[in-house]
Symmetry: C2
Subunit: 332 residues, 2 copies
DNA sequence: TCCGCCTGTCGAAGCGCTTCGATAACCGAT
DNA sequence: ATCGGTTATCGAAGCGCTTCGACAGGCGGA
């Protein structure tokens, strides 16, 4: 029961080679003859050897762990965060790294702690906001980092995100190409705009710029009753409104419910485009034409950028992922 | 820029004491005079010392890291998982531990790997299913673990969860006490029952047992159209139905939409109780009477149990958290 | 005064690995 | 036969920490 873990020394003895030879078989950093390699690998298998992570980190000055830092304000877009997180883990594993999960409520000190203690080799920060308190620290840190989202001043940082401005514009283009002449954006709750959340603002800017005179952009709260009231007002003030863009995962269902209540049929009378995960769009009635948030791609890309930085390869400062429109039954 | 990290030796020199003395100041494992302690702590502060995690783990055989293992099948109950995760991280930090995030798609090998490499001192597995392939491994593992959810055979394991059977029963009791005589449960999608997901089945059992003849339990898919059809059928077959329990976070909005469509007013004609997170219940119209899933409590409790096991303290095998009913506007 | 006993501190021996320099053993070219 | 140059392997020196045993000095009790 209480068998201490197998060490590299035991493997070496079992295979009849030096400890360093085993190490080189594992790392591939020096040439090892095929016969020796095979013998060592067999011993490793038979003994069930797993290198001790602490010892390895100590000797090599590399922990093979990256930190994944969740946003300060939880409560928002939880499902998307989760998709980010799991794609980050999966991709990190593919690069032989593990992931240390941190919440931002430890604040910058937490980042400093894990970095200074050599717990992690680098970090990925999720859901970075325009004015993010963690950002200044990163610039001074030894460890490389990658941000998901863009702070107000991204200079000297590596950032990845969906191109939300393009996403907003893309929705407009789709609707205008269908002949819609008056469009509205129902966006994030107003508190999110005030907080300085980049993706909400950038989507709105993309929408406003592309729609010009034809567009009206509103924040959108998340209770059914508020959504219903907003939608009702909207049509009261803009009777010619026929195209709706919804960028609020929690509210898209409510928007459809409100339209149903008002007797406005989708897509016959009103076309609706959502910016939301695919599963939400598919579950709606009718299934929604949508721009999906490619959480998996973003997470994967973030890890790849971080790995590149860890290996000293140059990386672009900004990576914007092109949005893709999936046409379903809610637009015509 | 490239200043190597401060080591304990430098702290010792700066404070004019032995390395071991610094170590004992930090760990408190031997008495140190007040004056020495103060001097050492000041040096630590001035130099900005952070102990090297790898070295510490190597020497002490404790990594102060726990693993948090996400479920195999993602895509389900993402928001709740996220709440679990962040409460686990927060509580772990309070016990001076960090959290390594793992997805179950590495499978049991992944668990074996992190355990054997001494990367983690213990683990918390989320969303354990009745017949979970990770479970057999755990019994043989040196490292202690705690499960969120119950496998079919929980013997020899430490498990925590909301008492879903009680939750189901509680909903029934609430509705019958209001005078409702015919009740239905709209549960998880049928695939979830087939997969052997414990909480879905246990909720149903609790409901069925408490409702007896008066109750009918159905699975519930997650697209609006399917939900609407299910609800319509339900009322067609049971015209006397007045009490609805919904245990499906993705569908509660759809259920309300369907009732609206059928012209059944809530709560005047139909009372609805949901088992879902509070924010979902609050955003609905009308706000829903609900049993919330106390994700935070569960996560905290799981970590506390794990810490107890790590310190060799005895812990109960099974911990069931009592459900709490929040009465809102959807029942009468 | 001497003894045993705390207290507080030190030095050194690891923990299990990586990596550097050294060294054999062998190659083909002289 | 000799030599420079590979190629494959070994031994040993750390990496930065914890922890064990040793010990100096101060205490009160005999």
């Amino acid at each position: 029961m209480t068998n201490r873990a197998v060490t590299i020394a035991e493997v070496a003895r079992h295979a009849g080679v030096a400890v360093s030879t085993v190490s080189y078989v594992l790392s591939g950093k020096r040439a090892i003859s095929e016969t020796t390699r095979a013998r060592v690998l067999r011993s490793i298998g038979e003994l069930g050897y797993h290198p001790n992570a602490g010892a390895r980190a100590l000797a090599s000055r590399r922990s093979n762990v990256i930190a994944l830092v969740l946003p300060l304000r939880a409560g928002m877009h939880l499902p998307v965060l989760m998709q980010f997180a799991s794609s980050v883990v999966a991709m990190a594993r593919r690069h032989d790294h593990d992931v240390l999960l941190m919440t931002a409520d430890e604040g910058p000190d937490g980042l400093r702690r894990v970095a200074a203690s050599s717990m992690v080799d680098g970090m990925v920060l999720m859901d970075v906001e325009l004015d993010d308190p963690r950002v200044p620290l990163l610039r001074g840190l030894e460890e490389p980092s990658v941000l998901i989202g863009f702070p107000a001043d991204p200079s000297g940082l590596t950032c990845v995100d969906l191109d939300f401005a393009r996403a907003g514009a893309l929705c407009v283009e789709h609707l205008t190409s269908l002949g819609h002449r008056r469009l509205a954006l129902l966006g994030a709750p107003s508190v999110v705009y005030e907080r300085g959340t980049g993706y909400a603002r950038r989507t709105r800017e993309g929408f406003v710029e592309a729609a010009g005179e034809a567009g009206v952009a509103l924040p959108c709260e998340e209770t059914f009753d508020e959504v219903a009231a907003t939608v009702k007002d909207l049509f009261a003030q803009h009777p010619d409104l026929t195209g709706l863009v919804v960028h609020n995962e929690a509210s898209v269902g409510h928007v459809l419910g409100a339209l149903r209540l008002l007797g406005r049929r989708v897509p016959d009378e009103v076309s609706v485009v959502a910016i939301c995960p695919d599963d939400v769009a598919e579950r709606a009635s009718p299934p929604l034409t949508s721009v999906l948030i490619p959480a998996e791609d973003v997470g994967n890309r973030a890890v790849e950028l971080l790995m590149a930085k860890l290996e000293g390869r140059p990386v672009p400062d900004a990576t914007l992922l092109e949005p893709r429109l999936a046409i379903r039954a809610s637009t015509r």
